[in-house]
């Protein structure tokens, strides 16, 4: 498997299958992501998009096929799982900030505990990241005191604090009020421009068209079509892709 992987393929998924009970959520999903690539995954709800990216950092366990992240095969081995998780950031639909910690503590917790970083150093890094996502003045507040858009930007900063090589976004704007979506997408676009490898599940077609290097269309647990945004929005091949695009555009 790994011998035919090219050097800069940072995520390799080969024939990944997953079942929830009798229901097959993923059917032989195969996808190779280059380093620094931005891949947007679209598809109707229930199509397995979220399940697919949650398999990549083992929030869900896949039952067949191979996943290799940055050369590390994702197996039952806890050390491999922890290594992959510390190289992979994830942003959730519901933010999932830690409500009992301040914004700054949310961001510094993992660097201090997992990377054994000095507290001062972690705080400096965290303030840098908060500047980057545009809310340094919220550092000492609790998540409950922030708007949804601000919380999601904190969540992005929290993931970046572990200096991940890959960022996974699971519908990062779906729980936000319309006027807050842009502030989060702007942060994501800025992140993409710095060369971060990103896998984004989203319904934001504008973002997909503008930022994605490739778009993946999933339906019924299968990857139906992969291509550049241009290809997708002008020349989609698959009937179901066309149907989906016609419904949402």
């Amino acid at each position: 498997m790994s011998e035919n992987a090219s050097a800069d393929e940072i995520i390799i998924c080969q024939d990944v299958c997953k079942w929830f009970g009798d229901f097959q959520a993923l059917k032989n999903c195969t996808l190779r992501v280059q380093a620094q690539e931005v891949v947007v995954i679209i598809g109707p709800s229930g199509s397995g998009k979220s399940t697919f990216i949650r398999c990549i950092n083992r929030l869900e366990e896949h039952q067949a096929g191979d996943i290799i992240v940055d050369g590390i095969p994702l197996t039952r081995d806890v050390r491999n799982i922890e290594q992959i998780r510390s190289e992979t950031g994830m942003v959730f639909q519901q933010f999932n900030l830690f409500p009992h910690l301040t914004v700054l503590e949310n961001i510094t917790l993992a660097p201090i505990q997992v990377r054994k970083m000095k507290k001062d150093e972690a705080m400096d890094t965290a303030m840098g990241l908060l500047n980057r996502v545009g809310i340094p003045e919220q550092a000492d507040k609790y998540p409950g005191q922030l708007s949804g858009g601000q919380q999601q930007r904190v969540a992005i900063a929290r993931s970046l604090a572990m200096s991940p090589k890959i960022m996974l976004f699971d519908e990062p704007t779906s729980a936000l009020d319309p006027e807050m979506i842009k502030e989060v997408l702007d942060v994501m676009q800025e992140l993409a421009e710095t060369g971060m490898t990103m896998l984004v599940v989203t319904h934001e077609m504008g973002f997909a068209r503008e930022v994605a290097d490739r778009i993946v269309f999933m339906d019924g647990g299968e990857i139906m079509e992969v291509g550049t945004p241009e290809h997708f929005f002008t020349n989609a091949q698959h009937e179901r892709t066309k149907l989906f695009l016609s419904q949402i555009l």
Partner: protein, 406 residues
Amino acid sequence: MTTAAGTPTDRSVLPVTERYTLLGWLRRNLFSDLFNSLLTIVAVASIFIVARLILRWAFNTAEWGVIPANFNLIMRGQYPAIEAWRLWLVIYLLGTTVGLVWRLIVGQFNTTARILVAIPLVLMLIPFFSMGTRLYLMITAVASFAGYFIAGYLPIQHRGRAASYFVMAYLVVMLILLRGAGADDGPMPPVQPILWGGLLLSLLLAFFGITLSFPLGVLLALGRQSKLPAIRVMSVIYIEFIRGVPLISLLFMGQIMLQLFLPDGFPLVDRVLRALVAITLFSAAYTAENVRGGLQSIPRGQYEAAQAVGLSTYQSTIHIILPQALRAVIPVLVGQFISLFKDTTLVALVGIFDLLGIARTIIANPDWLGTQQEVFAVIAVLFWIFSYTMSFASRRLERRLGVGQR
């Protein structure tokens, strides 16, 4: 929109609550219609009758002489009078430790701190106290001031950690002072725990019952959620067994059977210690179930976020899950601790002289026949004071931690 609903421009009208006079308030809250007026009259009449009965008993009938005469017994049981200075030292050090910790954790001399310092000073007013006792109470207040004062000058970086070291050091010193050491004619002869009694013993049993059962209960709650079947099954069996057995039977088992489970030649475990073991094991099972409730209230997203940033199971339990779970169950846990405090009276039935046990010996004393009412009234008030203090402290703690707010 009408004026009564309060349009934003109409600022001359006071808020609804402040617009009423006393008469208006009375009419609105107590005499708003015929039925409520009747209820008010009946309620006031009953309160008056009951209060008059109680006050008449308290001031005319009751023989309060039994309390000063047995005061030392109520406070410390059979603890030798000649060693009482050790108890006072324990109290002074308690004051100092509270002062130190207060400065380190709370940081300011606020209302609650003033109330705490006032307690020994108010106790000085109790009429039958000797001048010596009053002096010792005064020293207690001074000692707590001193602790607060000294803490301001200590070069301490990690305040929380320093505070917990002070508390632990205090507990060790306290136990050494209480228990004593060395020869029987030495400066601090041993006092067997079976001689500790009264309020002293009730508080010690409750305090150590709570502090020992709490970590055990948390571990059991986590064990019950464990992915490892052996740990989960053992936790479930333990919890369900203990919860199916009354505390009194555990206390009897502790007295009679504990020695059977220990290896041959194991020194005889003190009877008070046996009772403490039973109370701790009993309380741990209930703590576990309460904490489990808190654990179940943590959304799955919290576990996932902790995993996604790379925290290990242990790290996410310590830093993410437990802080939130415990915060959510503070009210339930304090309720449980209050009932544990009151449940310690059951040790009176296995021949240990806690507050209730002492009360029973006093009323059995031929000199004080017929004074049950007075003795039990005082015992009840003592229990109420400490239970209410716990409940009050827990409400303050909840407010400080913002339970139910974020």
